[in-house]
């Protein structure tokens, strides 16, 4: 999917003043939905301030779309209120479960990739989409365990979910890299398995490699291997908006902008190369 919206960063309170002082450095911001599900005060004041100048995407962490708990009506109502306020380009969350038996784990717990889970998630995605009157964009999560019960690969599961529920994908390139390392699959198999027309957005991030497994910590700069995979993702999903996530050890806005420029440079080089060699670009996907 080609939207041409360009590159964005996460909207973080640590950067509010720097963003004001250096306007126009990104094409859009991604706001973490839960941070703005409050009654008033500075969070909403800042959100409105930046929304006047930038398009925004809303990105949630607590929809818990895969849980066997009932959908959280209170959460959906809060999300609807926020959507009405922000009028976002798109609304995303994660393909996982975060709550169960009324307890919010505040972690992105992976699903087993089974026919039963697929039926369950597809039905819930369609209900949420009906309620929000828009397609949901779901992100592939980093995961550390492989269920013995899984019947599909993760990319097969995502592709089939998109088909059944008519939803879209937030392709987190770092998460593909992390999960490929942890579960010992070829990340290119993942990228090739995702339907081109369903990818709405890219995420990029850093991680922590413990040697035996990688943890998706979002607290380091993006590593070379993820940049290489990003180049492949740009080739396979041309024109997809890119955004860098940084949730800990947060550097200055200027430093993140410099990292975003690296992403822009890669996207420009890949796009130029593909334009020069259209036959190669069309060989896959």
């Amino acid at each position: 999917m080609t939207s041409g919206i360009g590159s964005g960063l996460g909207l973080r309170h640590e950067h509010y003043e720097e963003i004001l002082a250096a306007p126009g450095k990104v094409e859009w911001f991604e706001a973490l939905s839960e941070n703005y599900m409050v009654a008033g005060g500075q969070p909403l004041d800042w959100l409105d301030t930046f929304r006047r100048d930038y398009p925004m995407a809303l990105h949630g962490v607590s929809l818990s779309i895969g849980s066997i708990d009932p959908l959280d009506e209170r959460y959906l109502a809060d999300l609807e209120t926020l959507i009405a306020r922000v009028e976002p380009m798109w609304v995303s969350d994660h393909l996982c479960f975060t709550s169960l038996r009324g307890i919010n784990m505040h972690d992105l717990l992976p699903l087993p990739y089974t026919e039963e889970a697929l039926d369950h998630v597809a039905e819930r995605v369609m209900r949420v989409q009906d309620r929000l009157q828009r397609r949901l964009v779901l992100e592939n999560v980093s995961s550390y365990v492989t269920y013995a019960a899984s019947e599909f690969t993760e990319w097969q599961f995502i592709a089939e979910l998109c088909k059944r529920a008519d939803c879209e994908v937030l392709l987190d390139v770092n998460n593909v890299f992390v999960s490929a390392f942890n579960h010992e699959f070829d990340p290119m198999d993942f990228l090739r398995g995702i339907p081109r027309e369903r990818v709405r957005q890219f995420h990029l991030a850093g991680h922590t490699n413990n040697g035996t497994h990688i943890i998706d910590t979002h607290d380091h700069p993006i590593i070379g291997g993820v940049w290489d995979l990003y180049a492949e993702a740009v080739r396979l999903f041309p024109g997809t908006p890119t955004m860098i996530e940084r949730d800990a050890n947060i550097p200055s806005y200027a430093e993140l902008l410099a990292e975003l420029d690296v992403a822009r440079g890669i996207a420009e080089r890949v796009t130029a190369r593909e334009a020069a060699e259209p036959a190669l670009g069309g060989a896959e996907g």
């Binding site: 839960e34 941070n35 599900m37 409050v38 009654a39 008033g40 005060g41 500075q42 969070p43 909403l44 004041d45 607590s62 818990s64 849980s67 066997i68 959280d72 209170r74 959460y75 479960f97 975060t98 709550s99 169960l100 038996r101 009324g102 307890i103 919010n104 784990m105 505040h106 972690d107 717990l109 699903l111 087993p112 089974t114 039963e116 889970a117 369950h120 550390y144 365990v145 492989t146 269920y147 013995a148 019960a149 942890n182 579960h183 010992e184 040697g211 035996t212 497994h213 943890i215």
Partner: protein
Amino acid sequence: MTRSNAGSLADLQRAFQDYVLESSDAFAVQVRDTSKADRVTLLDVYRDGYALRLIEVLTIDFPGVLAMAGRESFDVLTRTYIANHPSRHPSVRWFGRQLADFLATTAPYDSTPALAEMARFEWALGETFDSVDAEPVGAEDVMAVPPEAWETIVFAPIPSLRRLVFAHDVPPSWQRREEVEPGTLEVAALDGPVPWMIWRPERVSNFRSLESDEAAMLGAMIERQPFPALCEALLPYVEEDQAAARAAGLLRAWVEEGMIGSFSH
């Protein structure tokens, strides 16, 4: 397929959650080792991360409690809280809501009541920070009230206003939280309980202590009593012929401080 099928989505999710909450290790048989790591190492990424993530939230929301308790005790304290009060809200913003009550009622923390008071103060600050916005009433609005209306006029505070009573020197100590090594913040006991209020007239929250008569009048205002009753609330503290003037003075100060949200008569 039977009800007890261990591979069902519901059973797998429950077992996964039980593992993370450390109530059962049974989920381990449902996941695979890799060539590089055994399944327990991988599962413990989730188990360890669960507590660490919530401790981080409480560290941000309760820096004064951390400054009093010290890192080691804060870690024990928060792990106990996490085990006893799992999050019931989709946003971690609300996770610390019960910490003050937990500290007030759980040994050994209940023997240091200043800890619970600090937690209550910090939680109220957070509530005020992102509470409902309201434009405070201006002095010119109050001055335009016709004289006959003062018999029935009722004032209401802005929605962010919170009242607290401390038996310890909590807010002044909280202001020193970043100047001291964690674990060394002293919060002295006071001679008697002191009322405080926290409110946010615009973007920035304020807090200050209240005189006894001011606290009594504020309580009457919060109960939406009319202005003559606000004057009566002062009678235990001031002479009867001074009450109206004192009430008018306090009201003027509250308006100037952006505490009054509305009035009707």
